[in-house]
C-alpha cells in the first residue's frame, strides 16, 4: 500500500513537473493571461508614482562614474540627412518640436545649448541588468516644452529618432509626469564632451527613473500626442512594439 502511495506521489510529482513546463509556455501564449500580467504593469506604475512623487534619482560624485560607459542599441546611423549633419558637427541641424503644441519649434543645437542647463551624474540601468554611471548636461525637457506651449489635449511626448532597426525607425515616448520631472533633460553633452555618435549625438533623452531603452538617442523630432494609438504598432516605443517590453520601465 505504502509502495503504491509512493509510486503515486512520484508519478504526481513527475506529472506536475511536465505540466509546469508545458503549461507555462501555453500560458505565455494565452492572451487573457498576458493581459492579467500586463495589468500588473499599470499597478506597478501607479504604486511607484505614488511612492516617489517628484523624488530625484540618485546623483553621484565624479569619483563614482563608470570608467567606460557601455554603448548599447544602435551605435551608428545610416540615414543620409544624419550623415550630412554629422559632418558639420550638427551646426546646421535643428530639433523639431510639433504636434499638439501652440507653436511648432525648430531649435538649432546652439539654441538648446544657450538655454538654462542641468548637469547630473546619474546611473543608467539597462533592462538586461548592467548599469553605468555617466555625467549628462542639457536643457530640461520641460523648458523646451514650455517654449512650444502644450495644447490641453497633449498627453504624451514622442521622440522620433534617426536610427533604425532594419526598416523600422527607433522611437520612444513618455507621459507628461516624466516629461516635466526636474531630471528629465535633452542631453547634448556627456562626460565632458559633446555626445558621440555611439551615445546618441546630437541629442538624447535622459529620463532618470526609467530603464535604458527609454533613453532615446539621435532625437530628431519631438511630437506631442493625445494617444499612442495609431503610431507604429501603438505601444509607444520601438522595443515595446517589437519585443513587448513594458512601456513603463520604472522597474
Amino acid at each position: 500500500m505504502i509502495v503504491n502511495r509512493r509510486k503515486l506521489l512520484g508519478m504526481s510529482a513527475a506529472g506536475a513537473g511536465g505540466l509546469l513546463l508545458g503549461g507555462c509556455d501555453a500560458l505565455n501564449g494565452s492572451p487573457g493571461f498576458r493581459e492579467a500580467l500586463t495589468g500588473a504593469e499599470s499597478l506597478t506604475m501607479r504604486t511607484q508614482r505614488l511612492l516617489m512623487g517628484d523624488a530625484l534619482a540618485r546623483e553621484f560624485a565624479e569619483a563614482e562614474m563608470s570608467q567606460h560607459f557601455r554603448i548599447n542599441g544602435n551605435s551608428m546611423v545610416a540615414d543620409s540627412d544624419y550623415r550630412r549633419d554629422a559632418r558639420t558637427l550638427f551646426a546646421n541641424w535643428s530639433l523639431q518640436v510639433d504636434g499638439l503644441v501652440a507653436r511648432s519649434l525648430s531649435l538649432p543645437l546652439d539654441a538648446l545649448r544657450s538655454m538654462p542647463q542641468r548637469t547630473q551624474i546619474t546611473r543608467h540601468d539597462c533592462v538586461e541588468g548592467w548599469s553605468a554611471i555617466g555625467k549628462w548636461q542639457g536643457p530640461q525637457l520641460g523648458a523646451v516644452l514650455a517654449l512650444a506651449g502644450l495644447l490641453p489635449s497633449a498627453r504624451y511626448v514622442v521622440f522620433h529618432c534617426a536610427d533604425r532597426f532594419g526598416d523600422t525607425p527607433y522611437y520612444e515616448s513618455i507621459d507628461l509626469i516624466d516629461a516635466f520631472h526636474a531630471q528629465t533633460i535633452l542631453a547634448w553633452w556627456m562626460n565632458g564632451a559633446p555626445l558621440t555618435e555611439g551615445h546618441g549625438a546630437p541629442l538624447r533623452l535622459r529620463v532618470e527613473r526609467q530603464l535604458g531603452y527609454k533613453q532615446a538617442k539621435f532625437i530628431m523630432r519631438i511630437e506631442l500626442r493625445e494617444t499612442l494609438a495609431g503610431l507604429y504598432d501603438g505601444k509607444g516605443g520601438y522595443w515595446e512594439d517589437h519585443s513587448g517590453y513594458q512601456w513603463y520601465a520604472g522597474i
Partner: protein, 255 residues
C-alpha cells in the same frame, strides 16, 4: 450540584502513532501558493539572468567592469530552456511573468508574516529559544540529523532547532531579502526609497544579492524535498495538504 473540577483532566499528550493536527489552514494555503509563485519567479528570473549573465558589486557594472561571477563564460545562454520561463529566449516575456508574480510573492509574504507575527506562531514555533542555540544543543541536533534520526512522538509536534533555523531563515531573511533586493534594482524605487541603495550597497550589489538569495532558496528547496522524502513523503505531504500528521514512533535517545 457538583462543581466543575477546578483542574479538568487534560487529554493525555499525543504519542507516537497518533494522528494529530499539524499545520493550520493559513499555513497550508500560503505554503502551496508560495511554492508555485517562487518556482515561477525562479524560472523567469533565470531567463532574465540569461540576458546578462554577469554579476558585479557596487553601484555600477557592465561588460568592461570586473565581475565576481561570469556564467557567460560557460555558455552564451547559461540556463537552458527546460528551466526557464518562457522556454524560448525572451527577456520581455520573462519580465512580464517576473514583475507580475512579484506582486503575488510580496503581498502574500507580507500577509503571512503579519498573520504569523500577530497570532504569535512566529515566536512560538519558528524563532529558536536561547537554550536551543547553545552549541552543544545545535551539535546534538546536527549529529542526529546526519544519522537520519528524526524526533518521534510528542517531540515531533514542534520543530527542532535546525527546522526552526531553516524556516525562519526562509521567512525572515531569504524571502524578504529577495523582495528588497528586487526593489533595489528598480530605478524608480531607488528614487522613492534612496535608503535601499545605501542598505544594499548599490544597484549592482542589489542584483548580486538578489541572485544569492535565489540560490539560497534553491538550496533550501533541495534540502526541504530531501527531508520530506527521508521523513516519509506520504505523511509529510498529508500534513501540508490536510493538516493531519501521524506522529512517528518515540525514539530512544540512547547513544
Amino acid at each position: 450540584m457538583t462543581e466543575a473540577p477546578a483542574n479538568p483532566v487534560s487529554p493525555p499528550p499525543p504519542k507516537g502513532g497518533d494522528l494529530v493536527r499539524r499545520h493550520s489552514l493559513v499555513t497550508r494555503l500560503w505554503h502551496w501558493f508560495n511554492a508555485v509563485v517562487v518556482i515561477v519567479m525562479l524560472m523567469s528570473g533565470l531567463m532574465i539572468f540569461n540576458a546578462h549573465p554577469r554579476l558585479y558589486w557596487g553601484q555600477y557594472g557592465a561588460n568592461s567592469d570586473p565581475s565576481w561571477l561570469d556564467l557567460g563564460q560557460l555558455a552564451a545562454v547559461p540556463f537552458p530552456g527546460w528551466i526557464t520561463i518562457p522556454s524560448q529566449y525572451s527577456l520581455a516575456d520573462a519580465r512580464l511573468w517576473h514583475l507580475g508574480f512579484a506582486w503575488l510573492l510580496a503581498v502574500s509574504l507580507l500577509a503571512y508574516l503579519g498573520w504569523a507575527g500577530l497570532s504569535g506562531r512566529l515566536w512560538r514555533s519558528l524563532i529558536p529559544r536561547p537554550a536551543e542555540l547553545r552549541p552543544a544543543h545545535l551539535w546534538h541536533d546536527i549529529s542526529q540529523h546526519a544519522r537520519l534520526r528524526f524526533p518521534g512522538g510528542a517531540a515531533a509536534l514542534s520543530y527542532n532547532v535546525l527546522q526552526k533555523l531553516a524556516y525562519a531563515g526562509v521567512l525572515l531573511v531569504l524571502l524578504p531579502g529577495i523582495v528588497l533586493t528586487g526593489l533595489g534594482m528598480s530605478p524608480a524605487m531607488d528614487a522613492a526609497w534612496p535608503w535601499l541603495l545605501d542598505l544594499l550597497g548599490g544597484r549592482q550589489s542589489a542584483r548580486s544579492l538578489h541572485f544569492v538569495c535565489a540560490a539560497g532558496l534553491v538550496l533550501f528547496f533541495l534540502v526541504h524535498i530531501a527531508m520530506v522524502v527521508l521523513a516519509g513523503p506520504f505523511n509529510e505531504l498529508r500534513s501540508m495538504l490536510s493538516g493531519w500528521y501521524r506522529l512517528p514512533p518515540e525514539r530512544e535517545n540512547a547513544p
